[in-house]
């Protein structure tokens, strides 16, 4: 084997070394060995599917299957009884789709709905990254489900794993031209950074192994056999909306618009990310830096260059230090930019001015500049299912899909837009929305909320999230109302663990699971998602969250200036320290002064 191998940690050198040398010398993280041995993401997955006594797959395959868009999970609610009943854990798979820009056709919607009803507990879940995921698909149904997804012309390749994941794009369909450009860029990046291995097709669709090329350069010309050091998330934003939370992502493109709302180029952002580990200050969330400006025709090249620099420079010894945000911290933005410029053979322009006003969705009807209508529905926690005695999201949206002539967009806030409705069809859609109890909005707090899935399916969850946040918001709404703040827009997000799927560290109120019914409470982030929060109180019991926040609401109601957001106020009033960026996230934590009611 004389395969050349990239050297990790230090900038690339010319010295070629072998796989074995590299692995030994670099003391690679366990996942790197799994990737190397996997034969381009195959592992023993095909055999594992034939092991009928277990609903699980091997541990190593469990890592690889993420690259195929799945996580092995088990129903944690059922764990206590299983062993006693001589049953293995209640394993099933979460399957995440790749839907660039979150745009799908009504026909695809109906097919995805059918898959949900047939194999996934009659629920579609809109994620925080503009796609759908299914929960509860058992191993024996995986191939059928994947075949059904393939038939919709969608797939799950690279929806998870150490690769460029689903690429998000601004949804605002009212800015028709800008959205079209944003969507197109997202789609192009998604396509060009897609892994090329035929493993997905082979394993799930019984596809032929593509003959010929055994050379790495032919099989995975961009990724190589070890793919990226860690996950890599890309988004495209169109100001003034930061609905995609551009600062929470590894790579971002901010549309720079001319007076006629045409895209003249993109500001490129790098190094954002949410995940951290409790009790490990070397791990921290970070907001992205604006690295420079790029002309439209160079955007794809820049995306590839940013990703490949991270591929080569990212830390492969320690997965907790492997995201691009740590690479940027280690090398500095200037060195990173210089390497990107070297790879594209061009210098980036200076960032152009832009302004975001918020990171939420616009609910209800809007009209685009092409005269088409768009309806944004509020979907609590993105759960598209029929609720007993409540809204019939699954049925209602299926029936809308049956008559809808435009398309659907999933938002980064887990909501759904029924987009491009011709004026004459608006009433029909409206009637179906009403008939099924779908909601075009909610109270201010709920409109600005996100919760991750957490228990019972997520293996990482330390506490409840999606099942708990609605109850907490009910309590907080009462508190806010009592201070005359019922209609105040405040972002609130909760996650069951510090990995940050719901991007809690850039919400004005962030709850991060610590243990059963215990959360870290983070405050002081910017409403537009541009500034991180700060740990305000550790390990708060769920029952005390309302009482902890109530005096702060009271103080905010009294002391705020016109238009001042809750997060900004808490800093100005001296309740919590400002986080400038990742490295000082863990500095000066805690309440800076007692919050007294009155």
């Amino acid at each position: 084997m004389t395969d050349t191998k990239r050297v990790y940690e230090t900038p690339p050198t010319e010295r070629p070394i072998t796989d074995a040398e590299a692995a030994r010398a670099a003391q690679l993280a366990a996942n790197e060995h799994i990737k190397i041995a996997s034969g381009y993401l195959r592992g023993t997955l095909a055999d594992g599917l034939l092991k009928h006594a277990t609903g699980a797959i091997s541990e190593d395959d469990g890592q690889l299957v993420k690259f195929h868009g799945m996580y092995l999970q088990d129903d944690r609610d059922l764990r206590p009884e299983r062993t006693k009943k001589k049953l293995d854990k209640a394993y099933s798979f979460m399957i995440r789709l790749r839907i660039a820009g979150g745009v799908i056709s009504p026909k695809q919607w109906m097919a995805l709905d059918h898959i949900a009803v047939t194999y996934a507990g009659s629920a579609l879940r809109a994620t925080t990254r503009q796609t759908f995921q299914y929960h509860g698909v058992i191993k024996s149904n995986l191939k059928r489900t994947m075949a059904a997804i393939d038939a919709t012309l969608l797939d799950t390749i690279a929806a998870c794993g150490d690769v460029n994941r689903n690429v998000m794009a601004a949804t605002n369909p009212a800015q028709v031209g800008a959205h079209r450009a944003a969507y197109q860029l997202a789609k192009d990046i998604s396509d060009s950074l897609l892994p090329k291995t035929s493993a997905w097709r082979e394993i799930w669709l019984d596809g032929e192994r593509v003959a010929g090329g055994e050379e790495e350069a032919e099989i995975e010309p961009v990724y190589g056999r070890t793919y990226l050091p860690r996950k890599f998330k890309t988004v495209v934003a169109v100001p003034p909306s930061n609905e995609v939370d551009i600062f929470a992502h590894d790579l971002g493109f901010i549309a720079i618009l001319d007076k006629k709302n045409r895209v003249t180029g993109w500001n490129v952002t790098v190094g954002g990310g949410m995940g951290m580990t409790h009790g490990e200050p070397d791990t921290f969330p970070r907001t992205a830096d604006v690295m420079g400006f790029v002309e439209p025709e160079d955007a794809i090249k820049v995306a590839e260059a940013v990703m490949t620099v991270q591929r080569d420079w990212g830390n492969r010894k320690n997965r907790k230090n492997a995201r691009l945000k740590y690479t940027i911290e280690r090398y500095g933005l200037d060195a990173f930019r210089a390497e990107v410029e070297t790879r594209i053979g061009k210098t980036l322009g200076a960032p152009k001015p832009f302004a975001f006003t918020g990171n939420g969705d616009r609910f209800g009807w809007t009209e685009g500049d092409d005269g088409r209508h768009h309806l944004t529905l509020y979907v609590p926690s993105g759960r598209i299912k029929d609720i007993e005695g409540g809204a019939q999201f699954l049925t209602g949206l299926r029936r809308i899909a049956e008559v809808h002539q435009g398309d659907f967009r999933l938002t980064a806030n887990q909501n759904v837009i029924i987009a491009n409705v011709p004026a004459e069809q608006r009433a029909a859609i409206e009637a179906l929305v009403d008939e099924h109890g779908l909601t075009k909005g909610a109270g201010a707090l709920r409109r600005n909320s996100i919760a991750c899935v957490a228990l019972p399916t997520c293996g990482l969850a330390l506490a409840e999230s999606e099942r708990y946040l609605p109850d907490l918001m009910t309590e907080l709404e009462q508190s806010l109302a009592s201070h005359g703040l019922a209609e105040e827009e405040i972002t609130i997000r909760s996650t069951g663990c510090p990995n940050g799927c719901a991007r809690p560290f850039i919400a004005e109120i962030g709850l991060v699971g610590r243990g059963p019914e215990r959360y870290h409470l983070y405050l002081g982030a910017a409403f537009d998602g541009s500034r991180l929060s700060k740990l305000y109180r550790e390990d708060v019991a769920a029952s005390e969250i309302r009482d902890t926040l109530d005096p702060l609401f009271a103080d905010y109601a009294k002391g705020r200036q016109p238009g001042e957001h809750f997060g900004d106020y808490l800093i100005r009033a001296g309740h919590v320290a400002r986080t400038t960026n990742g490295p000082d996230f863990h500095e000066r934590t805690g309440a800076l002064k007692p919050a007294v009611q009155g």
Partner: protein
Amino acid sequence: MSRQNLLPRTAPFGDGERASLDAVLGAASPTQRAWLAGFLAGLDAAGGQPAAVPAAPPKAAAPLTVIYASESGNSEALAGSVAKLARKQGFKPKVVDFADLDVSTLPKAGKLIAIAATWGEGEPPARAVRAYGELMGEGAPRLDGVEFAVLALGDTSYAEFCAIGKALDARFEALGAKRAAERADLDLDFETPAADWIKGALKALAPAETSDNVVAVDFARAGAGEDDEAEPSREPLVVEVVEHVNLNSSRSDKETIHLALAFEDGAPAYEPGDSLEIFPENDPLLVDEILNASGLSGDEALRRALLAERDITTLSAATIERFVKATGHTDAQTLIDSGEAKAWIEGRHLIDLLETFPAKLTAEHIGTITRPLPPRAYSIASSRKEVGDEVHLAIAAVRYETHGRARSGVASVHVADRIRDGAKLRVRLKPNRHFRLPQDPATDIIMVGPGTGVAPFRAFVQERRAIEAPGRSWLFFGDRHFTHDFLYQLEWQEALEDRSLTQIDVAFSRDQPEKIYVQDRITHHAREVVSWLDGGAYFYVCGDAKNMAKDVRSALVKAYETTKDLSAVDAEAQVAALERSHRYQQDVY
């Protein structure tokens, strides 16, 4: 029914004598009563003096063929009793399983006793299907000169009570044989009447000149009690429940109880494949409903009897007849006269009868209307080599609704709802020598056991693990949902790990749009299954008799057809040959 009133008032004894006899007879086991019956008969025949010396055996032993069609083993056990008694009486008995019966030999049988169970909806036991078919078919030989008697076993809770015995009885006569004794149609409490019938039948079949001696010989030898084979005790044993857990997940709509039972004085010597009978108790709520409907709510003695001793669910035509006889209820009489009783019984139980035709009953009435509460047999799910002095069972709780009323299986729901860790149960071993692992541990085995049908295969796998059997083993399991109904899932994983199980294939019917059953998995693996069988593997099926067992057999026939390119007839012959060589074994219910 109280035990004090065993002897009728009309018995030719004084009150004191009757009480004494009642005290003894009431406490006697069926075996003791049978023995006493034989004793008294022998005493009488010997002129009132016990014969100390056996009479000289008859000079030329008369050949007697005893054929049996058995599913659960009762007919087979009775055939053994017939042979034993017949030998003592100077016959030369030969016992033949219907499974092995060559119908063309019957004309030479001379004297023939047939003991036949009826299964399901009036069907012959699975192993008897072939020979029974031949006998009922056009090619059956004439039986002129043959003397016969038929003992029919059945269950009055099924509509076609004793249908197979009745059909055989008529068929033998139609084929020219001479009926030596009237047929008896026996219900689940067959033991005492069967013993009586056997005696009568043997007497009727005995050559006239030796018949007097025969009884004396019987009496003397039975009294000496020598050559009795060591048979498992018929007396129930009391065991303690040491594990009681529902194997289905809390999200399942099924409920399968795993029971571990501990025998204080050592478990009986059971083998993998055997069953254990449980003596259940009735649902106390149902008992109260029965008492209320009969106007007998205050009778505590009756309540106790109904809880543990009487079958208070089964409703048969005979039940209605006895009810009418006891009460003279005219509406119930009308139901019988109209010929609609049979349809009315469908899905109904005794309580429906009592509530639909209200009548004031006495405890005695209840005693005559009901039959004794039979035990319920469950395939043993453990090997003594692994669990020592325990027996494990897997019991599916049977619950359903008919005619607007929730119904439950007597034994299964007794175990599911009213038995917990530490509780006591009365049980009795029920051997099944037709469901046995191959003698040679190197022989491969294929096991098909969906639902609780998997129970004996847990015993098989435990046994073969303990003896380190080198033969391969392949389990086909099925149920509704993989996640919630995979009985003993962790144990199968361990068995695969330690190689005591070579391979497992599963069929969960409700996990996908189309139903998938174990037979579909057999079809899918047809080539490999047939190749195992070609290599000498044994094929076992346990579980539902009504559909699954038949579908599995058809799938296997089809597997031969497709993989060996055989005609349907030839493929059928291959499976029939497996059955005849006892390599296709069933334990179905």
